[in-house]
């Protein structure tokens, strides 16, 4: 048993954490423990470094008064009083560290006019402390020091009291002194402490809107969980082989090997079988890949329906333009695809056609939404399924493509011999 009051060993803390937070790995317990120490909820009794060691080092728990959850933002006057107090007591354990001595010197310069007040406060506190029980004083001193280690950390240590500025702006923190001082002068408020943005109280309009919203949600058709689960599973299973965190990419992950071949292959115009396979997942995947889009367009051309895809792409492009270009582009698209006698006339049902022509009276980015949606659904249900069954796609998918050069040579040789034959034979008198 130790004579030191109110302490616990680092090892004990680690054990407790592993047991109560269901942690298997002591390293994880050490990590969390160190963070809790860094926040200042417990501290080593013998030095300023707020971390956790898994051994017989002694730690003490912080008093609830000093907990960070109280959202202290202690002023420098409090800190000055504290450092001043330390210098007044003749105890080696209270000797100032170098950085503390520097801080004190800086504060003395900054508070030169207030120093008498600060000195008096420090003196008063020392007097009160002397009346306390020795052991109690030791404990309180260590807790007070740990508090300042958190709020005025040792240089190089992480300042865990740093707050995200977005949080700062939301929290209204009254500046109050740790030592309960009420100063005559006004507290200096930092410019970032603007009044917090409280949630707006619900007005009648808000509630009416909410009711409208809820009614709409009630009428929504939703999927059963079991179906959702199956869908999520099949999606992830389908894409797992394309996920570099699950399936290592071929030939290698560029970040691992420092070799960009994988990226070059993905961008090449000669797609791998794996890439081609992805085009079969959905029309969107096929269109996402420039090579896929090109092949699909060629296929549509062979079926004399390429105007559908060209229309869809044109509208996508229009939506990506700056606002001032939109109206003009919209008219151009109308002329090309929808007007009477248009060169690339697309087939829309009369309802969509009417609507679209109405929209064009005041053309905007979404004038063609209906039409685009209609055409996309058409391509998806009709042309796309045929595309996937087409020779062009299947050949690529099965890598049945004969080596281009060999075939090329053969046909051109054939052509040549044929042409030679014809010309030679033509010269012979009796043919």
């Amino acid at each position: 048993m130790t004579k030191i009051p109110s302490v616990v060993t680092g090892a004990d803390i680690v054990q407790w954490m592993m047991k109560n937070l269901a942690i298997e790995d002591p390293a994880e317990a050490m990590h969390i423990g160190s963070l809790i120490a860094a926040q200042g909820y417990f501290f080593p009794i013998s030095d300023h470094v707020l971390s956790l060691k898994d051994d017989s080092t002694f730690y003490r728990f912080q008093a609830p008064y000093f907990w960070p959850s109280n959202c202290w933002e202690p002023e420098n006057t409090d800190y000055a009083i504290y450092l001043c107090k330390r210098t007044m007591q003749n105890k080696t354990r209270l000797e100032l560290a170098d950085y503390e001595a520097e801080n004190l010197a800086r504060l003395q310069r900054a508070f030169a006019r207030k120093w008498e007040f600060i000195f008096m406060q420090a003196e008063a506190q020392v007097k009160i402390d002397r009346k306390k029980d020795k052991t109690e004083r030791k404990i309180l001193d260590s807790q007070e020091r740990a508090f300042w280690d958190v709020h005025r950390p040792v240089p190089g240590c992480v300042n865990t009291t740093e707050m995200d500025i977005r949080k700062c702006r939301r929290i209204k923190n009254p500046h109050r002194s740790v030592y309960g001082l009420v100063e005559e002068g006004t507290q200096s408020h930092s410019p970032i402490h603007t009044p917090s943005h409280r949630c707006r109280k619900g007005t009648k309009e808000d509630v009416e809107k909410e009711i409208l919203f809820l009614n709409t949600q009630l009428d929504r058709h939703c999927m059963k969980m079991s179906k959702v689960a199956e869908s999520l599973i099949s999606y992830t299973e389908q894409y797992m082989e394309y996920d570099p965190f699950v399936t290592p990419p071929e030939p290698s992950n560029p970040w691992t090997s420092d070799d960009c071949t994988f990226w070059d292959l993905e961008a090449s115009k000669e797609p791998s079988q794996q890439r081609v396979k992805k085009w079969g997942f959905s029309l969107e995947e096929a269109l996402k890949d420039p090579a896929g889009q090109e092949l699909f367009l060629k296929f549509l051309e062979s079926e004399f329906s390429s105007e559908n895809l060209r229309f869809w792409l044109a509208v996508q492009d229009m939506k990506r333009r700056p606002l001032h270009e939109v109206a003009e582009r919209a008219q151009e698209i109308w002329a090309e695809f929808l007007a009477e006698g248009a060169p690339s006339s697309i087939n829309l049902d009369s309802h969509s056609y009417e609507r679209t022509s109405q929209n064009l009276k005041d053309p905007g980015r979404y004038s063609y939404e209906d039409a685009q949606d209609h055409i996309y659904k058409l391509m998806k249900s009709d042309s796309y399924t045929r595309f996937l069954r087409s020779n062009a796609y299947q050949d690529l998918l099965m890598a049945r493509k004969k080596p281009e050069t060999e075939q090329g040579r053969r046909t051109s040789l054939e052509k040549f011999t044929r042409s030679v034959k014809t010309s030679v034979l033509a010269k012979l008198p009796f043919f």
Partner: protein, 391 residues
Amino acid sequence: MCDQTFMAITFGPCDNCSTTSPLMNIYIKNEPTNYCSFCVEMMACQGLLKGETLASLKNESESLKKKLEEERAKLHDVELHQVAEKIEVVSALSIKTRRVLKGHGNKVLCMDWCKDKRRLVSSSQDGKVIVWDGFTLNKEHAVPMPCTWVMACAYAPSGCAIACGGLDNKCSVYPLSLDKNENLAAKKKSVAMHTNYLSGCTFTNSDMQILTSSGDGTCALWDVESGQLLQSFHGHTADVLSLDLAPSETGNTFVSGGCDKKANVWDMRSGQNVQSFETHESDINCCRLYDLRADREVAVYQKDSIIFGVSSLDFSLSGRLLFGGYNDYTINIWDVLKGNRVSMLFGHENRVSTVKVSPDGTSVCSASWDNTLRVSRALGMPWLLVLYSLT
């Protein structure tokens, strides 16, 4: 794959006032109608004329909420992790930090990947925005901002510009020049103007539109060229802290998370709030997964030993893994389907502010208050992509 079950958006004459505009599909006494946003506002005010008190309206709202909860619960026939028991465990990941990007003088608050999968932009409390080639560790551009706490930054899809903002309440776009000597700050273009800090920004699938979220409780869509406000999104009752676009190129929605403990899904075209997910005060330090088609929470990712909040999240490419950046300086990696933690990443010396997976999923970048960014990789669902976390 399933189509999204959002309200179908129509564009045309309003059923009430006949002006042509994006229409909200709403139900009035169970009848579907299409009203423009102005008429919706007017109708909401009409409730006042009927002499209904605030109290009676609130009662109606509460009973609707209860009814909605009951209806949704009826479809909750099984838990995700139960169904996921039949699939294989994700093999134990060995993830290593491959790059540490040093150069910021203070906390790194945000980062974003370029579509080329290797470049990235980061912004810091020190007011600087740096564009890096993550692969070579080369700092390609450094832009000084007039304010500190640059909380948001984004890379344009073309790779030719970046956007950033923070305490200046604005979002500015900087075209990136190939000429190293050119002063980027001079070419700055102010696009978005909010009445409080900018918490998030992202380009849509074009260099010409930017979506922003702000401490003023709103989100907004802007035309970059003219700086014109294209659409604003009202509904949050407190600061909006983050936003994310739906991953589909045909999609028109995004989700925003706010301090009012709500995650709202919005239609970018009409400004309408199409779905909303709420969480409770007592639920801290965990991540929740919501499915948009089921319109409810389907999984929670938490552990007794995780006692610090999450600041940022991202999915791996297949959606099987979830990377969470925590205030305890670590990154926890979760199995999205089974619900257990797969791995933990140490290395940062202060809290992690942003976590983002690269566009092709080959690595994950984490930005931290320790002034560095780390790029890590492993040796080995758009309709579910609403994610909520509390700090």
